[in-house]
Symmetry: C2
Subunit: 333 residues, 2 copies
DNA sequence: GAATTGTGAGCGCTCACAATT
DNA sequence: GAATTGTGAGCGCTCACAATT
């Protein structure tokens, strides 16, 4: 049963006041008498009035909505608990504001429909996560509304507003930990090279091995997915090289690797030590529980919102925020 | 660099035509000369013009957006590959239309902000998935815009438009399969009782056992999550009862159960057979690969869109669509 | 008369300012 | 003069209809 919506004029008529007074009540202006406010409130209840958002946006030039743009494969976005944590941080920080969150899935090249939507005033700003090097449509969005990026872009630009984790530091910490455990034949499973976080974690990994005078046993792309991690692990084993440790650049890929190691009859950590990245919800429930690099995913979501809110109110937040990482030792190393 | 948007009047002036002609070109009307069309196109390009969606919505009374409303815990929504499949079906079916998808996370009681947004003309209709019995805000949405439900509500209402799987049939098929395998001491791990799909799958399970003159060894709530499934399996084992089979009402819960069984030193399927539900992406990669009930999750997403599109164009689609299920036998039974 | 184009009104709000108490 | 209220214009489109070729 869809009831047609009532308008501000109808509410005004019923309450015996003008359009303006209704608008003031709806928007919480203090410049309204108690009597008028009460009468408007009653009329709003009686008529089940909800302000028309398109009209409000047109007049005020603000939509009070922000978009979370996800240029990622749906299965990957949903499959990775890292995103769940970021999103819940975003939602939590937004709860106390008047902004509503609008999740826009922009798999592959989203085309003019999605790009146009984001440029058309439907949202006041956007948070873009899990972006890839070849996502050119992003520039068209950033040319129209304020944008904050979760993770630096592959081509880093100083004018971007970015909330990133210390991925290089995380790659370093994971690798140093493996060296401390006495491992010397270390492989890594990376994220896709189209993402800065993949490159940074790999850089940290390589730097530490370099300093130790070692070379990686293998560098395999696991595409940040569980199946990709499993496939990468299989390739590493199939190459016939000896391996005593693996740094997987996400917990999900690490879980895939653990599965393959178990199926191959290799013990973790006795034969092969494994370090993940994220410390997502799944890290504690793999078998064995996963040593990993914690990044504050939820906090990253909150920070993304804070930067965007600053931008929307015309402030000048810092361009690059780097969240600290931390090694969490469990039983896989 | 945010550039302020140009308007239809500016495009008209530059192209040397009226506002109306620009509108016709933008909206693909055939009643425009080639010359005018070309000149408008150039002006649009030059000015980087994108129609203001709020103005369009206000004038046309259509937003060309539909919402996917998810009254579900963020971690659960993201963690379950079933939703990923439904969402990708929705996106796929929507790709060929002018509608944009707006994912709205409505965890817990979403409050007036979200409800108001959905009632305010921001979207033309809504698809609601993973709804629970106590989600009262749903009625307020359904009173304002057309709504299609993914899954029947706990209180089934004939006037609702619903796309559902044959959950009772799925529960039956899973249980019959276990009986055929010679199992007699069968437990079930259910979804939350606030969801119709949980109740239906349990009904199918009970009916088949009843017909066979058997009683369930245990009925434990696993909350449709992997950890919930693991905890439920632990409770079943701790009860000390003999169990030779488990029907878990989702693949994710089944995976949790498999983990607990392995840790308890029980072999699957030799000691305990396990059937899941969904045939989601993870079913084939558990160890052992999971026997499960396939529901066409992606197809369900597509169908949800089709029903809603019918509603939006004023047609009268059928109220209840039931998607068929199918037993998929792998190695866990 | 058919094809193309433009005009006027209106969608439902906000916001500046004037008017009223 | 301060507190409260209302008026007019305008946000950027669409849509019916009239005007033009």
């Amino acid at each position: 049963m869809v009831i047609s919506a009532s308008t501000i004029e109808e509410v005004a008529a019923r309450a015996g006041v003008s359009r303006s007074t209704v608008s003031r009540v709806v928007n919480g202006s203090p410049a309204v008498s108690e009597v008028a406010r009460e009468s408007v409130r009653r009329a709003i209840d009686d008529l089940n009035y909800v302000p028309n958002r398109a009209a409000r946006a047109l007049a005020s030039r603000h939509s009070q909505a922000i978009a979370l743009v996800v240029p990622e494969d749906t299965a990957r976005f949903f499959g990775d608990p890292f995103f769940a944590a970021v999103v819940s941080g975003i939602q939590a920080r937004l709860a106390s504001t008047d902004y509503i969150l609008n999740v826009i899935l922009a798999t592959g090249d989203p085309g003019d429909k999605t790009t146009g939507y984001l440029r058309s005033g439907s949202v006041d700003g956007a948070i873009i996560v899990s972006h890839h090097d070849n996502d050119t449509f992003i520039d068209r969005i950033a040319g129209a509304i304020p944008v904050v990026y979760g993770g630096r872009r592959v081509r880093v630009r100083d004018e971007d507003h970015v909330v990133d984790s210390d991925n290089v530091g995380g790659g370093r910490a994971a690798t140093e930990h493996l060296l401390e455990r006495g491992r010397r034949r270390i492989a890594t499973i990376t994220g896709p090279p189209s993402m800065r976080s993949s490159l940074d974690r790999l850089d940290g990994f390589r730097a530490v091995l370099d300093d130790a005078g070692l070379a990686p046993v293998a560098v395999e792309d696991g595409d940040f997915s569980e199946d990709g991690g499993a496939a990468a692990m299989r390739r590493i084993l199939a190459s016939g090289q000896e391996v005593d440790a693996v740094f997987a650049a996400s917990d999900l890929m690490a879980r895939g690797a653990l599965r393959v190691l178990r199926d191959a009859g290799l013990a973790v950590p006795d034969d092969v030590a494994v370090v993940g990245f994220d410390d997502s919800m799944i890290a504690a429930t793999t078998s064995p529980p996963l040593t990993t690099i914690r990044q504050p995913s939820r906090g990253q979501g909150e920070r993304l919102v804070e930067i965007l809110l600053d931008l929307l109110r015309g402030a000048s937040p810092e361009h690059a925020t780097v969240m600290p990482i931390e090694l969490v030792v469990r039983e896989s190393t």
